[in-house]
Amino acid sequence: MTDMITIKNLTKIYRRGSEEIRAVDNLSFSVRAGEIVSITGPSGSGKTTLVNILGCLDNPTGGELSLQGREIFKDGLTLSEKELTLIRRQYFGYVFQKFFLLPTLTVLENITLPFVFGAGTNTDQTYIRELMTLLGIDKRANHLPSELSGGEMQRVAIARALATKPQVLIADEPTGNLDSKRTAEIKSLLSELNKRQNLTIILVTHDPDFARIADTVLEISDGRILSQK
């Protein structure tokens, strides 16, 4: 498998007054295409900061990040906001703990929202229908988010993230708001998507069960890798 994302000596430092917080501390590793990487660790360990940088939503303070060999960040230098947006459009889909669905749009409209902004080439209606069937929300296409359960809303958020056929899915605690039954559903769904679409998945989770579907489990503490399995 080829490398999808490579980071070298990646560092992210926040300053709070005179205090310096190293949220990500000199990390180096690679994520291969089609790999599921689970990032775990206690609260405040730097998981979300790391995943945001990997997903080009945040800039590192130092170090390097390349995407399929293309340099995105290097020693404090980064691409323009427009270039980063285009990178995000091309490579990434995001799922967050909160679903962030637009309340006035139907399920189908929420899923196809990225196409309004030019992400993806064309709305592939057949693919969208397949995706909705796979996620079990095909019968909810014309419903508003307020008419859905939490699990359904998260599945809509996943469908929106995958609508443009991204190469990498960034999922930050995607089951944080769900009960155990829904969590199991999402877990098996992500595993299924990884197998079917060779989708690279980087997920942040507190749930140790996710380790079972992950190819690599990174345990982070104080911005450093404690263990890599």
Partner: protein, 394 residues
Amino acid sequence: MNLLSLAYKNLQRRKLRSAFTIAGIALSAWVLVTLLGFNKGYEKSLNRDIDNMGFQIVLTAKGCPYEAATLMLKGGTGLRYMPEKLVEEVASAPEVAATTPMLMHAEFDPYKGENGGTVVYLGVDGETYPQMKAYFEFASGQWFSAPEAKEIVLGYEAAELEQREIGDMMLLPGSEEEFLVTGILKRTGTQDDGMIFMPLRTVQNVFNKQNLLTMLGIRLKQGIDSSAFEEKLYQLPDVQVVSMAQVKNTIISLVKSARVIVLSIAAIAFLIAVFGVLNTVLMSVFERYQEIGILKSIGALPKQIFAMIWIETILLCSGGCVAGIVFSYAFAGISEKLIRFFLPFAPNGELIFLSPDLILSAFAAITLTGMLGGILPALRAAHIRPLDAIRSEV
């Protein structure tokens, strides 16, 4: 789905707030369009009224020029008189093409309406007056048969009000004699529609105003300098010279002064409405802080977010503006009645003239101002960083 439909759906999120914002814009657009229409309509109707008078200069007895202007245009009480012999003196001047003497008389009629009212009679010369008013057409009948005939010609509205037809006899208040209705004029759209015309001599005799006039209409020969002749007329004793241009300018300058104040108020109301829009859209941006961040994370460029928010502002402003314009048309009649009630003098005809160019200009001005007001919230939204938005607890 596209940016326009997305912006439209965003406005539906808080329907009541959007509706109130649109109502604010609609009200200010209504006021603005009505006032602009009034400005245009008033000037147009006044010009037509004055042009239809048939003479360029009027001599009246010396007094307040505004009173004289009102007297000429509308009729009135407290009339002043000048000697009839003046006619020969003025008519003999080489600049004069024609003159027409008039005697206006107002008499209280106890049987008019519920509590009585004033009836105005205009004594005119059956030879010269019709020549001045070449546009007069008779619905039925004709002018007087003789200079001292006991006859009446009614304006269109006067005939309707008095419910008279040709051949009817009318009893004048303060007189025991009956007068024959010999003619009813067609509608002219001027103050003449409400007039009761009688032969000049008859009015002088009936109301004991022998050899007196209230007005002398003067039409000048082609190419004569009106101002120079007016200067000459000022040499005559005890007369007031009122030129139509002067009347027009006097009234229009009075209306313009009032218009500046009213338009300023309308402009302030409109600015308040625009700030209302700005506030609404800005609040909506703050409320959707996280959502806008998500849109950016799924591929929205800053310029697309700017466009989306700007379209929301444009929809609010244009929607309000269209509603305001519809109100202006729908309530033009009521607005006109109100204006007529409050104005001391209003010309006949359409007072509020809503032309397509006026509507387009008002629509463009309101929407453009709204678009300017929308720049700030749109910029704020465009500069939201996706990560900050996702992290925030808003």
